[in-house]
Amino acid sequence: MTRLSKENHTQILLIVGLLSWLVPGAGYFVLEEKKRAIIIFVTICLTLCIGLYIGSIGVIDLQGQSPPYVKAAQLMNSPVVLLLANRTAGGGYPVYGWPNEIGQIYTMVAGLLNLLCVINAVSLAHLGKTAPAGD
């Protein structure tokens, strides 16, 4: 019985983590934290879109010359980044200079904030709390 509940607990943590990565804020949504989920979804999606607007989808360059930390941070956004990377793989959307840098910074920060939300949602699910302890 204990082993079964432990397995269920691990499954719930995995589901919350995976959902949080698939759709920003979805992990909070399944934890009944709807306001938090909406705020996070809107903010992270908007930041990613601003980054893509400034630098174009060319800033997502997973198979190109971008440093590994840029690619890793961008991947934290959601699987949408993988679809965009597939689209930009041939180098058909070149972007240089400040638009590239600012676009990369925005998409990276959106990804890193989503990573923070994934970790926080999994932590909340693990502790069984419905609200964080505050700062």
Partner: protein, 83 residues
Amino acid sequence: MSVMDFLVIATFTAPEHIYPNPQAMLWLLPLTATIAIVYKATKLPTITLDLFLKEAAILFGSIVGFIIITASVLYALAWLISA
């Protein structure tokens, strides 16, 4: 695909023209707001509109204030060294 869809997608396929001038530094403001909003959304025990806006605004102001102070100190140092 409608013309509207095409226009929306087209805005994401060509980069904006941003030049390395002091005004380009203003692009940090939306990013700072994003960080403040998401951080406070993860940290506040309960989210109410007025409390959330207040806390996020305080954090946003703190980050921008610290950046301005740091920039001022670095500018003063650069001025002293080059004078």
